[in-house]
Amino acid sequence: MQPRSEFPAHPSPSNAATMSPQPAAPVAATPRSKTGVQWLFQNVVWLWLAALIVIFGVLNPFFFTLSNLQNVLVQATVLGLLALAVSLPLMVAEIDLSIASNMGFSAAIGAIVTTRLGLSPAIGVPVGIAAATAIGFFNGLCVTRLRMVSLIQTLAVMIVLQGSLLAVTQGNTISDMPNLYIWIGQTTLGNWPVMPVVFLIALLGMGFLLRKTVLGRSLYATGGNALAANSAGIRVNRVKIIAFTLSGLLSGVAGYLLAAWQMAITSDQGEGFLLYAIAAPIIGGVSVFGGRGGAAGILGGVLLLTVIHVGLAITEVPSFYVQMIGGILIFIAVAVDAIRVNFVSQ
């Protein structure tokens, strides 16, 4: 279930002095109390991340290079956007399992509009993202108006979309995208890839949404206690539909970026991302029961999974063991988080 794309292993021209492995939290964490142990638990994702960076760096000093940092950021982009997409329904105590398949399917729609109909990517890409958004909106309608259980409803949509991708690609890989289409995934500015900027913007947007806006408050309240939110005058169904729609939008953007970066859309594009995309925000403190979580935590969870992924790839762990060890490291992160939640709730 590893993300199928291998990171491009740039030979490192930089020397060890230019390392900057510590990612800084751009968005402040949720309100925390100041006692030492609690602070430790609140930030356990970041501590675990720092520990892994040190471990991988000791095992292979290449891990501390600038080009590896750039690689981590590129790898984190698609997973990060998907993690944000997963988080929105989780905030309102729902779940969307269709995001990864939505990512693959909507990218194929956009690419086909570009390659088969010969339209500009300036039209094709928005069409693909619009399709993903519409699918998210549809999920929201099913969950609220028809009161379908999101776990099963989005599971069904996931299967439909996986099948649809196979149908529209006829089992082939779409790879003849024009340069303009793949620009975002291939361009570097002074050696720095452009793609992570999209994730950064989305992350800051999410942080702003959750902390500063009425919609953000409504998301938390709906997930925290939907009945109370409704009685407080919040249109709970509307908030849920918006959460699913934004989730679809983010999946569409992630799908486009993945295609532009890989320069290809396979007939099973996106498979393998789903479980990691769900794990990342939960490790970062988003509650599966709704009403809890923030952008900073999601970033922490995404970076943690990416560091594990990239770190195992460059430390010459025999490939047969990579998935197992990766799974164990994720398990530890989830277990520590569970301890944290128990500790804080006492």
């Binding site: 009945l227 109370a228 009685s231």
Partner: protein, 509 residues
Amino acid sequence: MADSSTEYILRTHNLVKRYKNVAALDHVSINIRRSTIHGLLGENGAGKSTLVSLISGLTAPTEGTITFAGEQVQGFDVKQMEALGVFLVTQEPMIVESMSVADNLMLGRWPVKRGRGLMKTVDQRALLANAVAALEGTGLDPRMPARTLSAVAKRKLNILRALHSGGKLLILDEPTAALTLADRDHLFGFMRSLKAQGVSFVFISHYNEEILGICDAVSVLRNGRLAGEMDDISSITSDNLSELVIGRDVPLFYRDRATRHAHATSEGWRVEGLVAPNIAVGNFTIAPGEIVGFAGLPGSGAKEFGLSLFGLNRAKQGHITHGAQRYGFAQHPEDAFARGIAYLSDDRHRDGLVGLQSIAQNITLSSLGKVSRAGVIDAFAEKQVVKRYFDHLRVKAVAPSVLLGTLSGGNQQKVCLGRVLATDPKLLILDEPTRGIDVGVKEEVHRIIDALTREGLSVIVITSDLDEMVRMVDRVCIFVGGQIEQEFTGADIDKDAILQAAFGTALAN
């Protein structure tokens, strides 16, 4: 030794419980006589819960001992206390709704036919036979699915389960919460009949009249200490109890009905031709600054009327006039807030508060439109609103950033009140506004509401606490069968008259 073992079922001797350096319980000795109902009274945080958790074996005391039937209890453990016969019956009925009454009665102790471990098969016939015997004369049908039981029947089932497991002393933690008056009397009758059979009870309640109505003896806790213990409460009055609970003469609030004056700046409300599920009201008016009490049995329409005004019980017909404006009925609380109608729920945990969010976020939850521009929250404006209600309602918390779920019931209720007041309502509907909060906070809430009506706010109070009704409202509407059957105003507002009019038919049964 023999003496005390016959007279007292359970005694505590100088129990102390310290959490870090704070004494939650400070040298408390209580004596519970056999076959009595022993009241336990005190404000939130007075130490009731701590005492109960010590007696039931949930936690061990820092100092002191407990004797059960004359024998000193060794070690503190729930299983051991249950083996002795001490059972805690909590506020929330612990019932598996999808199973039958019989299954629930013997939950986890089902009679086994054969097999071992998880392969054991339950002897359905013996189960039913046992249940039929145990439930005889209680009015519970062992075959019924538990989900179909009424609130009072669920509480009875909980009590019966404890008895069936060998309970001799049952600790009932606020067993009357969310029960109607008639159900409460039913439960009391049931407790008396069990008492006659030799069962002892510890009865925890916030209501003086309940303590006086059912208990034989009472212990009052205040700030972790025993404020008083009375073996015989026949000569005690409600005011005596309140004084013990609070530790001073509580000046009980009485609304001054005489000095109400017309408000030139405010408009009254008129409801016409309302038809909604379980309620039909042809005409109802409320003046600015007026407090109207609604009384009635569940399903009588008192609550339904309030919910219809607020959009939670969707009206099919009818309209509301407020001054020159005329509306249809709100179809969602958002509409109601926009028109100046606010509703405070009777069950704050169900639909009143978001425990995961801070006090501040809860206070502004219903008025986010007022503290934001283009969907973005103005942190400064929000802070002002939060500060106003946090201070005005005197919420006891370190700061408004504290999670609401961590506060005591009374303070949570204040925050809920703050949330609806922050919408700047013109008509406020309060559904059991002081349920489950202690005397001190209760009086505070009454005063706050009274003060607001002096500024022109119209208030509807739906309450089953007749004491509260009599002291607080200007007019009482009695609901029967979905209609307003009778009204009392001014000096005619009398506890017995309301009781007779609103609940009379039920009490006769």
